[in-house]
């Protein structure tokens, strides 16, 4: 028997899909800005392992000499990113959804199991509520990162008027580094997120668009046991 089970509320689907293109514009415009002083790299001593970014990368994305354009878009779309983020956080608080999203005592152990499972080391499915431990950690971390981006962003946007914030963020140069590092963090999050969504399959992906999931009930009886609804669900990421 198949059964339709509600998963993502409409509000969360809106916040999710609204954020996606807005964050993309923020990262793109941020790249146009970063290019004008692209000093960051990973390495030790005089050895550079990774330069942010190679010229070929800039060339492929048509980045060079667009600083003013990048700043204009960044300081327009920051409002959308900020307001959508605030709305999402407020929604999770007032709807009680935060209880499903915040890590709890078991989350770190569960997250470890999820990792082992994903690496094909551990057989058997880890505990899966609406969100598993790894998801709880990731989806809470991304909100903290968002707050971090807004605070470090404000610190480098108005370092004199908001001098206290700039100091709090480690000073002007440090705030710019953090702002950049967080952006790299989003890109890594995005890659893992896409990988997990592909691994989790259609039923899971459909839910972030339609809001519902299709669940196979174990008992023949069409009257589903509500308590089992969530704990039985397929692994979803």
């Amino acid at each position: 028997m198949k059964k339709i089970v509600k998963k993502h509320p409409l509000a969360i689907r809106w916040f999710h899909w609204f954020n996606f293109p807005v964050l993309a514009v923020m990262i793109w415009s941020g790249l146009l800005i970063y290019w004008a002083n692209d000093v960051y790299k990973i390495g030790f001593g005089s050895t550079t392992l990774l330069k942010f970014f190679p010229d070929s990368f800039y060339k492929a994305l048509n980045v060079p000499f667009r600083l003013s354009e990048g700043m204009a878009y960044h300081f327009v779309f920051m409002w959308l990113f900020f307001l959508n983020g605030i709305a999402y956080v407020l929604y999770t608080i007032f709807s009680g959804e935060w209880r499903l999203l915040m890590p709890n005592r078991k989350s770190f152990k569960e997250a470890w199991q999820v990792l082992l499972h994903d690496l094909r080391i551990r057989k058997g499915k880890p505990v899966q509520g609406k969100y598993n431990g790894a998801q709880r950690i990731a989806y809470t971390a991304i909100i903290i990162m968002g707050i971090g981006s807004i605070l470090t962003g404000l610190a480098i946007y108005k370092p004199v008027q908001l001098y206290w914030l700039c100091n709090l963020m480690g000073g002007y140069k440090m705030a710019r580094i953090l702002h950049f590092a967080l952006t790299i963090g989003y890109v890594l999050f995005f890659l893992i997120h896409i990988f997990q969504v592909i691994m989790a399959g259609w039923n899971n992906f459909r839910a972030i668009i339609t809001g519902f999931e299709v669940k196979k009930t174990k008992n023949i009886s069409p009257v589903a046991d509500e308590k089992n609804d969530i704990s039985d669900t397929e692994i979803i990421n």
Partner: protein
């Protein structure tokens, strides 16, 4: 297909689970792609908006100006750029840009023309500036490109200058304008930022007269703005209640306010 279309107009309660899943899925995805299409069209619309002379399109410029109003409201003489001990200052300081200083220039003949509200011009020599009380500042100079450098400057507070030369009528106007002697480079600055206690008419760098490439004999240092506003080699100073022209905002599409 036909049965699906039929299902779309059938009440949910009359469909079996399989049909309901199909119906809900297709409806949701249709709305999803519809909104995605609207978002894409909105983006295309934004990209196609006519740009002002500075290449920034009208809707973006409107938001930037709104940002300015909002963030200008937190501008305060009590909010100061962080200062540092002289020992931390870079020596030599980075030179970035020579706009307005490419033409030959007779330093001996230099005067600053202060064009007053009523149109008469005050011609001031460097000694007329230097005789006013000197102020020094070591702060983190911030370039709009994203780099910053701790630098050590000396000069006269713009506020003190305005007071000393009885420019109270001019100080009450909304904007200050500065341009180089060759008129090639010019900046516009809102008066509250100009009158900020850290804004200097600057004639010294690292305790010595300004080098030529740093704007000898007199330049602006305005720590509440990006470096683009700290015009080198001041030729004319003027005042207006309308926005004074600004090279980077008018020609290159940057934010006019560019406040920090």
């Amino acid at each position: 297909m036909a049965s699906f279309l039929n299902n779309l107009f059938t009440k949910n309660s009359k469909l079996n689970t399989e049909q309901l899943i199909q119906k809900k899925t297709i409806l949701s995805f249709s709305f999803f792609f519809l909104f995605a299409a609207f978002a894409f069209l909105g983006w295309q619309w934004l990209r196609m908006q006519p740009a002002d002379s500075g290449k920034t399109s009208t809707p973006l410029r409107k938001v930037l100006n709104t940002n300015e109003e909002l963030f200008a409201s937190i501008l305060s003489d009590n909010n100061l750029a962080k200062t540092y001990p002289v020992s931390e200052a870079a020596n030599p300081a980075r030179v970035n840009g020579n706009l307005g200083m490419k033409t030959s220039f007779d330093t001996a003949k230099w005067v600053m023309n202060v064009i007053k509200a009523k149109g008469d011009t005050l011609k001031l020599k460097l000694d007329d500036i230097k005789k006013l009380p000197k102020t020094e500042i070591v702060f983190n100079f911030k370039c709009i490109e994203g780099w910053s450098q701790i630098t050590y400057w000396g000069g006269v507070k713009f506020f003190d200058f305005m007071k000393a030369y009885n420019l109270s009528e001019e100080a009450a106007m909304k904007y200050l304008g500065l341009r180089t002697p060759d008129n090639e480079y010019y900046v516009g600055i809102d008066m509250p930022s100009a009158l900020h206690p850290q804004t200097l008419l600057c004639y010294e760098l690292n305790g010595k007269a300004l080098p030529m490439d740093q704007g000898y004999p007199l330049r602006l240092i305005i720590p509440v703005k990006y470096g683009v506003k700290s015009l080198k080699r001041i030729g004319d100073m003027y005042f207006s209640n309308q926005r004074t022209p600004d090279y980077w905002a008018d020609v290159k599409g940057y934010d006019y306010f560019s406040g920090l």
